[in-house]
Amino acid sequence: MSEQYIEYIGIAASFLLAGGIAGAMVVLASTLGKKKPSTVKSEPFECGQKPFSVPGGKLAIKFYLTAILFILFDVELVFLYPWAVIYRTLGMEGLVKMGIFLGILMVGYVYAWDNGALKWQ
């Protein structure tokens, strides 16, 4: 094997181990385990969800607004962290640029506030 692939051996090994252990558990459980089926147990299972229901149930639109607003602030934070780390190196220029960025972002925030997106009713 050529030199450049040696470092990938570890990754390959962990893939094999993970697959092997998971596969072994599934196989062992289904061959060795006792089986006592009941109606509830044989339902297709997803944590706490009813297996059958009419799709397209209504979801309040305010959750959507909350999610959008979360993105607004999340993007802001993602930019603010690295900026804060090298704030001193950037100096005045960095401060002005960040001010412009936050200013534009705040327009969106003020718009949302102005239009009552922050009221939970």
Partner: protein
């Protein structure tokens, strides 16, 4: 900091539009009058157009680049910026009535509703203010932001800046198409446009990543030098990258086979939005495609010209033939715009600066004549949407019918109009590059489209009126019609008037 001010100075038109959009967003709840917002938007667009034109004139000698070679200000970018700003101004003028509410004609008597023609009478008792409609400030802010994205895209000198500009444009376009939320067709059109559009954007992004993988750069000039260093036509992955990029951009100009969204989106969107998409958005796609072809992948011209020839030929055939069977005016104009995308692409096939300036001329004149045709559709309100409703229009509104005749003749490409100049320059460019079959195809399909457009003329002039005369339309629509008609006539009478400004992009 001095460097930044110089960089920002290159973006004066974009900053103008962005600033106006931000102010409108902030004041969205407080401005209810659409005439105020429209005036502000038109002024911003005019200032941006003037600034872009002045910068193009100032920097015509030496090309300016800014933001570490991400943005360029050259004759090519400024030509398209002026065009985009003009399309924005015209679309805004055409939106004046739409954003106010739905026009309700006199239902009981069938008589035309009375509205006076003065500038202050946009609100009349006959206009129902529709609460479901977006507020005028939001609508215009979206138009402004879409135009900003277009301007970034035409002056981008880097694939990522280009992508960013195009995304800003398309994201605003998705919302604009679906902005009449009370109309189910509008929602459907927005969903279709969004699904296909995001797919096309993903294709383009994939093409960008492959191009980066092969050349190690996203800047156009760096890509060009990397390709010429390794030799052309050798790397299949690069060809895939070019194919994907072309596909993504062909979607923006609605060229076959990436045209499927256009008829649905135009039909579902309100007419001013459809006009804006058909003109400014298409011009932007052409501008971006031109710069990508002529600057970034200049040395792959052989492959590109084959791909573009196929796209252009198929767009012309499909657009012309399917337009024949349309009964909805906006769908007809959509298929016409697909055919026109094909004609506009003809200039790029040669891969020469002369060919690129032929496409620029085509794009410029196409924007005004299409805007004019849409303006007539908008002016006639509900009646303008159905083809059959044009019966006997000449007897009821001779002026409107004459203007429609002018725009339709121009779209066909009949001599004294701008459409002839436009088709002449691109077909000449194709002939010079030796694609005679394509030139013949283009001329033959012109005859087919003549049937499409002249059918409307026959309806207008040779049939008896079936419906009551349309009401008078707002002054703003008159203004837009006048500008479009003026450019359509001047472009036909003085065919060389654009030549000094249509400067191809160079390295």
């Amino acid at each position: 900091m001095n460097l930044d001010i110089k960089n920002l100075a290159l973006l004066v038109p974009e900053l103008m539009l962005t600033g106006t959009a931000l102010v409108l967003i902030l004041a969205a709840r407080r401005i209810q009058k659409s005439s105020v917002v429209a005036t502000v938007t038109v002024l911003a667009a005019l200032v941006a157009a003037l600034a872009a034109g002045a910068m193009g004139w100032l920097f015509s000698g030496d090309v300016q680049t800014g933001f570490d070679g991400m943005i360029t200000v050259d004759g090519y970018s400024q030509f398209f910026k002026v065009l985009i700003a003009s399309a924005l101004a015209l679309a805004t003028l055409l939106s004046v009535r739409r954003t106010h509410g739905v026009f309700v004609p006199d239902a009981d008597s069938g008589a035309p509703a009375r509205t006076t023609g003065s500038a202050t009478s946009f609100i009349s008792p006959r206009l129902r203010i529709d609460a479901e409609h977006a507020r005028p400030a939001e609508y215009h802010a979206l138009l402004l932001l879409a135009s900003t994205g277009m301007m970034f895209a035409v002056s981008a000198l880097d694939l990522l800046t280009l992508y960013l500009g195009l995304e800003l444009m398309t994201l605003c376009s998705y919302i604009l198409v679906g902005i009449t939320v009370d109309r189910p067709t509008s929602n459907e059109a927005a969903i279709k446009y969004f699904l296909l559009g995001s797919f096309a954007s993903a294709l383009m992004l994939y093409g960008i990543s492959l191009a980066y993988g092969v050349t190690g750069a996203t800047g156009f000039e760096a890509i060009a030098s990397a390709i010429s260093a390794t030799g052309t036509g050798t790397n299949p992955i690069l060809l895939v990258a070019i194919g994907l990029l072309t596909a993504g951009l062909a979607f923006k100009i609605a060229a076959f086979p990436f045209h499927a969204w256009a008829p649905d989106a135009y039909q579902g969107a309100s007419a001013p939005v459809a006009a804006f998409l058909a003109t400014a958005s298409k011009a932007t796609g052409l501008a971006a495609l031109g710069r990508v072809c002529l600057v970034a992948f200049e040395s792959e011209a052989g492959v590109l010209s084959a791909v573009l020839a196929v796209l252009a030929g198929l767009s012309i055939i499909v657009g012309s033939i399917i337009a024949v069977s349309q009964s909805d005016m906006k769908r007809l104009l959509a298929y016409s715009s697909i055919a026109h995308a094909g004609y506009a692409l003809l200039g790029f096939i040669s891969g020469t600066p002369a060919g690129a300036s032929a496409t620029m001329t085509y794009a410029f004149l196409y924007v005004f004549m299409t805007m004019g045709a849409f303006a007539v559709v908008i002016a006639l309100g509900e009646r303008g949407e159905k083809l059959d409703s044009y019966q006997g229009l000449a007897a009821q509104r001779p002026g409107t019918a004459a203007l429609m005749l002018l725009f339709l003749l121009s779209l066909t490409g009949i001599p004294p109009t701008a459409g002839f100049t436009a088709k002449f320059v691109v077909i000449l460019s194709v002939v010079r590059s030796g694609h005679f079959a394509l030139a013949v195809l283009a001329v033959v399909c012109s005859v087919v489209t003549a049937f499409v457009y002249l059918r409307v003329v026959v309806l207008m002039y040779m049939k008896e009126p079936q419906e009551p005369a349309p009401p008078r339309f707002p002054v703003a629509v008159y203004a837009a019609l006048a500008v479009a008609a003026l450019v359509t006539m001047i472009g036909g009478i003085f065919p060389n008037i654009l030549a000094p400004w249509a400067i191809a992009p160079g390295l």
